[in-house]
Symmetry: C2
Amino acid sequence: MTYDGRMSEPKPGPSLRAIPEGDNRERLICADCGYILYDNPKIVVGSVARWGDKILLCRRAIDPRRGFWTLPAGYLELNEATSAGAQREALEEANARIEIEALLAVYDIPRLSQVQLVYRARLVDDRIAPGAESLEVGLFGWDEIPWADIAFPSVRWALHHEREAQASGDLSAHIGLPPGLPPDPTQPQGL
Amino acid sequence: MTYDGRMSEPKPGPSLRAIPEGDNRERLICADCGYILYDNPKIVVGSVARWGDKILLCRRAIDPRRGFWTLPAGYLELNEATSAGAQREALEEANARIEIEALLAVYDIPRLSQVQLVYRARLVDDRIAPGAESLEVGLFGWDEIPWADIAFPSVRWALHHEREAQASGDLSAHIGLPPGLPPDPTQPQGL
């Protein structure tokens, strides 16, 4: 089909709550056609990408948390490997080419229906530039990181996990939160 | 809303392919109401649950792979912690109460748009019984596992990862496949 412009305006879609036959949970159902939406938690993929001892951060051009700093990260697409998704997000948000090294951390955030997979990565070169979703991008040493202006708790978690991995030489993936960081983020969004 | 029986018959829902305005990928759109479906990869959660040196397996009562043996596993629900999802699946499929110990493995299966998180767990007791999706359930020593009748490649991967963890004492999570096992499963389904 060719794209029909009329479809660009927001539609309610599945918005009635009911338990379908043979199921045991409420699902959203479309009032127009009866379609049952089986909504599922989402996978967020991102990276802590290093250039020497500096780390790539992006200042968000979009809500939520516009103007705050984040790691390049976003929703995994269908049929996309998680490492490929992390590379795509670095390219889209910072025009950055990264080489994936290993899985850094898995963050399980049921409140947001998100599982986040964050990779350790190396920038291939230091040519970075803001993509459509970034106001600016930068490379930061640990002491230069704008800690007061970090967009999401999981960005702090991942930065601390990377710091620990560097310090200890233990590069196995971390599950859950680094010690001393808040387990229950006060902000409403994830990575 | 109360449940409307007419909605139990399958509906096409979003089934036209087009690139919405401001997007860069084809999405499925509902021909009736114009709703745009942003479909995402799914998270599968499961467990390798031990009772002494035996492991819990379930013989599938449903397609795909009806009659074959699998680990208790299924799709993570909204607002559900991944470990809670693994516990729920063990209860639903084998009436088994399990205690989660640690994340055993993360399997990234882009061909199926799945990320699988498999936990190491311990059965609280050995009272198990088939749930609605299982023909039978059982506890198997390593040499008793019905290797020829395993439902999905990732079940084999997880069993081997658990075996390695027991042998080496290294209980950190495994990412990817154990050595010597096929990286590209020939069967069309995941865990």
